[in-house]
């Protein structure tokens, strides 16, 4: 990697909107944005290759705030930790509350506090795996920052991406956030146990997800009752 590339990668800055750029720097802003996206993809490929080389199954879990990403991961790690060596990378703006919850189920955790950034990027993940002996793990889960928008800008280099939404967010949540559904392999509609009480039209959520991405696998779960967790793990190949 050249010094110039290295320098560009070293400061991955998400440029929120080209419209904000003054006319005299518009070209430069567009080129920088393209370079940042390209560099993220390059690093994500590097990360994925490292996982493959070490026979690690890897998952990026994205989803809305409070949709149940951590609760699902608690259930999954509790079931898997006796047979697999698990590393969970947790992304949050601040605190290590999620990592502490997951750690109780015998998985190693690393917290990334993104501060003011709204999603994890491949640079964060690359920084971690550079310092880890990946031979010590069989499965890596990356729990992204709770957000249905920003993670679509950055792939992380995992085998599969799961998107988690829940019945409490209403039946329009899928239709309103198409990009992440387009980029995900499995859609999880969690808190299925609350469906009747809330009157959420889950069939609409399922058909919206399929309409946006015909290849996506859709599953309903309840992290609270444990419903369909085994089926979800089957879909994930675990």
């Amino acid at each position: 990697m050249s010094d110039k590339e290295d320098k560009t990668i070293s400061r991955i800055k998400e440029i929120e909107s080209i419209n904000l750029a003054r006319d005299d720097i518009r070209d430069e802003v567009i080129e920088t944005k393209k370079a940042v996206e390209r560099d993220n993809d390059l690093l994500a490929n590097k990360v994925h290759q490292s996982f493959i080389d070490n026979n690690i199954k890897s998952f990026d879990i994205v989803g809305a705030i409070g949709s149940g990403k951590t609760a699902l991961l608690e259930k999954i790690t509790a079931k898997l930790s006796s047979q697999y060596r698990i590393l969970v990378i947790c992304g949050d703006i601040t605190t290590r509350l999620d990592a502490d919850r997951i750690e109780k189920h015998n998985a190693e955790t690393i917290q990334i506090n993104t501060g003011r950034e709204c999603a994890l990027n491949a640079y964060h993940i690359h920084k971690i795996i550079k310092n880890k002996d990946l031979k010590n793990y069989d499965v890596v889960f990356i729990e992204n920052v709770g957000n249905l928008i920003c993670p679509s800008d950055f792939i992380l280099g995992t085998d599969k991406r799961l998107i988690v939404v829940s019945t409490t967010e209403g039946e329009w949540v899928v239709e309103k956030h198409p990009m992440l559904f387009k980029m995900s392999d499995i859609a999880v509609i969690n808190k299925f146990d609350l469906k009747e009480r809330l009157g959420t039209d889950v069939d609409k959520m399922i058909s919206d997800a399929k309409k946006i991405n015909p290849k996506i696998e859709v599953i309903t779960t309840s992290a609270k009752t444990g419903e369909n967790i085994d089926k979800l793990m089957n879909l994930m190949g675990l």
């Binding site: 690393i110 917290q111 506090n113």
Partner: protein, 139 residues
């Protein structure tokens, strides 16, 4: 953890005669023991990748990425757009804007009052307003 820290501080005291293999080994040992401590810093939510250990009253600017494996001593200051990993910074150090430090040690009371520095595998020391005057030793 503190034991290695004291040894590293001792080792870099005599700047012209640092044992490079000792410092590498000590740093490796130090990082395997490093825990997380993020309380008592002054700043607005930088990015942290565990483990990061901040002693009291560390000032951190905007758009700063710290970690993994970062120790920063008391009363040190990290300015904007800085990225630091696998690095030990001792007490009362000032790190200038847009520094990128990887696998470095910065001696106590160093004040690096300039912008834009990209260093790897080095000990840095001194008070300086210019990159050209910076005292450093690669290991």
């Amino acid at each position: 953890m503190k034991e290695e820290l004291v040894k590293i501080e001792e080792l870099i005291r005599n700047f012209d005669d640092i044992d490079k293999s000792d410092i590498k080994e000590l740093m490796q040992r130090f990082f395997t023991k490093l825990s997380n401590r993020l309380e008592n810093y002054v700043g607005d939510y930088p990015t942290f990748i565990e483990p990061v250990y901040l002693e009291d009253n560390v000032k951190i600017g905007d758009d700063v990425l710290l970690g993994p494996n970062v120790y920063i001593g008391a009363n040190s200051e990290i300015q904007d757009y800085v990225e630091i990993s696998n690095t030990i910074i001792f007490n009362n150090v000032k790190i200038g804007e847009n520094f990128k430090l990887e696998n470095c040690v910065v001696a106590k009371n160093s004040s690096l009052n300039f912008k834009n520095l990209n260093m790897k595998n080095s000990v840095l020391i001194g008070t300086t307003n210019s990159k050209d005057e910076l005292q450093s030793m690669e290991f």
